[in-house]
């Protein structure tokens, strides 16, 4: 499979880029990712439009998380992980040595697959980001930011009277919403969400989906989901991954109504997965 990737690059063919009307904010070109010698992504080429929701779907282990983590260079943390190819955000190559990962990650926030609140109070969890980035000038302002973020994530109502309780004492779904609040508190441009609703009940899921829809106005969102319905409901663009390859990407209605690739069709109709 390595050879196939090599060939694709060497023959110099322009990779096919799905057409989307708006200017793409994030562009990935021929992205290969290796964990040690094992290739996890093969030449991914994808445009992610600004102020839209892009969902990444595909069977377990196909590389959705891996791709998502490339966008804010979270993979740098894994020693054995190697990323090749080019990813640009707003025209700037994020793997350029001049890029400062700290400022990159401040603008490309992430919500992880497993909720991972800090073992601190609910307030501290949300306040940490604004504080380290010096986004607020006073305690009052910080409190406003925390409450605004919590209410956007649909959690404020449940926790407003116990902001000083530990964040780890919340239920799994509440923890995930806390992590979303934590991510939006630093006001990033892009939010990467890795299965944010996998631990949530339908009501909380609906609230998060509403939130995603609201956030779309100001943010660019990439969401990994295992729920076809969710992808169809919240996203404008969908990309289907299969065994490390990007099989197909395009407008969500088009992917779900007239998929071009037979693998896409069998996945969305529930025959592989």
């Amino acid at each position: 499979m390595n050879m196939a990737a090599e060939e694709k690059k060497s023959d110099g063919a322009v990779p096919t880029v799905p057409a989307i009307e708006t200017e793409p904010l994030i562009t990935a070109r021929n992205v290969d990712v290796f964990y040690a010698d094992k290739q996890a992504l093969n030449g991914i080429t994808l445009d992610i439009p600004a102020n839209k929701v892009t969902s990444l779907i595909g069977p377990s282990g196909c590389g959705k998380t891996t791709f998502l983590r490339c966008i804010n260079r979270m993979n740098d943390l894994i020693d054995i992980c190697r990323v090749e190819g080019e990813i640009k955000i707003g025209g700037q190559d994020i793997y350029d040595p001049k890029v400062d990962v700290v400022s990159l990650r401040a603008q490309v926030g992430m919500v992880f697959q497993k909720p991972n609140p800090f073992p601190k109070s609910i307030f501290e969890n949300v306040a940490y980001g604004p504080r380290i980035h010096h986004l607020v000038k006073s305690k009052g302002e910080l409190k406003d930011v925390v409450e605004r973020s919590l209410s956007k994530a649909g959690l404020l109502e449940e926790v407003h009277d116990r902001l000083d309780d530990p964040g780890t004492g919340l239920s799994g779904g509440q923890q995930q919403r806390l992590c979303i609040a934590r991510a939006i508190a630093v006001e990033p441009k892009v939010i990467l969400m890795d299965e944010p609703c996998s631990a949530l009940d339908p009501i909380a899921t609906a609230r998060i989906e509403e939130l995603i829809d609201e956030l779309r106005e100001n943010y660019t969102i990439v969401i990994v989901t295992h729920s076809m319905q969710q992808a169809a409901r919240v996203s404008q663009q969908t990309a289907f991954f299969h065994m490390g390859n990007l099989v197909e990407a395009g407008k969500t209605e088009q992917i779900f109504t007239t998929p071009q690739d037979p693998r896409t069709e069998s996945y969305i109709t529930g025959r592989i997965g």
């Binding site: 400022s103 990159l104 990650r105 992430m110 800090f118 940490y128 380290i132 780890t168």
Partner: protein, 418 residues
């Protein structure tokens, strides 16, 4: 319907295995506790005597013609004490017997008297009853450590001396008091005067130096290796070396200290500074290994959470990972320090084995350490040093328990749930 009360033979075997394992565990704990009790108990029984001291009272005459008020130190106080003893037992006349009689009080009695007179010159010209520290022989006899059934010739404390002591006791001029001198004095050639404070201070100062050096260096090394260093051949090599260093016998570090700290750097011999430096060489690997283990135990998702919202690596490490790992690091440090507290070999190499009477007050003073003091006393022939040895071990154990207590308190304070 299924019957949940049926016990198949296989299930019975499983339950039996479980029971058996619990009994094994309980048995091991009981055996361990038993040995601990045996050790602490026997040391306590042997050492408890060192916390009391026998004193005898003498009618001391201080004739004014023997004192020069401008120089109170010039008087021969020893002679005054001896005279008081002779007056108490007028029928002792033979030279040999007199020497035995003088041996009832400690040689320190003359200094005690001198101190008293200098503090209160009004005593001069009067006859006063004054309490003195009894000699170790009397002390041992009073504490029942002299076996009177054996032949007089083969024991140090003669029948005559026994008779005198009984007479003094009958007069009510003999008492057993709390031996505060043991906790406030330095070492001495006389067992009744030997105190633990100089060794205790020596240990405390050395351990302070050791902690101040090895804890920061150890945890910074661990944080760097675990959180920042790239995992490659070099870091693997360093890791192997640190693990090996942790197993190096401590005397080797003592030799290193002798060669480097004393001979090359010219630091003062026998000082707690050098002692602490040598001990920190020894504790560093332990602290680094324990700290790395506790850093590794922090879930990586915490790091990702911090980095994911744009914390720098240093911020992620110091705001989130280190606080969670701190209790474990402290435990490691205390384990290392406890080992350092009990170690003698490296201190022998750098000369902390000297006979130290003065209480060290700074890290550059000459000092010895608790385990070395225990070794020195255990090696002394006098019977009185035997209980001092056990008492010193008790002090060492209490020191250890206190250290662990501090660690537990600190751990409670810093502990956070994941």
């Amino acid at each position: 319907m299924t019957d949940f009360t049926v016990k198949t033979p296989a299930l019975k075997r499983r339950h039996a295995a479980e029971k058996r394992f619990q009994w094994y565990g309980l048995g091991s704990i009981i055996i361990a506790l038993g040995f601990l009790l045996l050790m602490v108990g026997s040391i306590t029984i042997k050492g408890i005597g060192a916390f009391t001291q026998t004193r005898v009272a003498l009618e001391i005459e201080l004739p004014s013609n023997e004192f020069n008020l401008n120089d109170l130190k010039a008087t021969n106080y020893g002679a005054i004490v001896k005279k008081a003893l002779r007056n108490a037992f007028p029928d002792v006349t033979k030279r040999r017997d007199k020497r035995k009689l003088y041996g009832l009080v400690s040689p320190y009695a003359s200094f005690e008297l001198q101190k008293m007179v200098i503090e209160d010159p009004a005593l001069i010209g009067k006859t006063t009853k004054i309490w003195f520290v009894a000699s170790d022989d009397v002390d041992m006899y009073i504490k029942g450590n002299v076996d009177t059934s054996i032949d007089e010739k083969s024991r140090k404390f003669s029948d005559k001396q026994i008779a005198w002591v009984e007479e003094i006791q009958k007069k009510g001029d003999l008492e057993k008091v709390f031996n505060s001198g043991f906790f406030t004095g330095g070492d001495s050639r006389e067992p009744e005067l030997a105190g633990i404070l100089s060794a205790f201070m020596g240990s405390a100062l050395s351990l302070s130096v050791c902690f101040l050096l090895s804890f920061p260096i150890g945890i910074f090394a661990a944080i760097y290796l675990e959180e920042f260093a790239k995992k490659n051949r070099w870091s693997a090599l360093i890791e192997i070396n640190i693990n090996n260093l942790a197993a190096v016998p401590s005397i080797v570090f003592g030799l290193l200290g002798l060669a480097v700290f004393l001979n090359v750097f010219g630091l003062p011999r026998s000082s707690p500074l050098v002692g602490g430096m040598v001990l920190s060489l020894m504790t560093l690997p332990t602290i680094i290994i324990a700290s790395r283990a506790s850093l590794r135990a922090v879930p990586p998702s915490i790091r990702e959470a911090a980095l994911g919202i744009g914390a720098s690596q240093v911020q992620a490490a110091f705001h989130h990972v280190v606080p969670l790992a701190l209790p474990g690091m402290l435990t490691g440090a205390i384990v290392g320090m406890a080992r350092a507290l009990g170690d003698t070999a490296p201190l022998l190499m750098i000369g902390m084995v000297a006979f130290i009477v003065d209480i060290p007050t700074g890290v550059l003073d000459k000092a010895t350490a608790l385990p070395v003091q225990i070794f020195l006393w255990a090696d002394s022939p006098e019977r009185g040093f035997m209980e001092k040895t056990s008492a010193a071990i008790l002090v060492l154990l209490v020191f250890l328990v206190l250290m662990n207590l501090v660690a537990i308190i600190l751990r409670r304070k810093f502990e956070q749930r994941f």
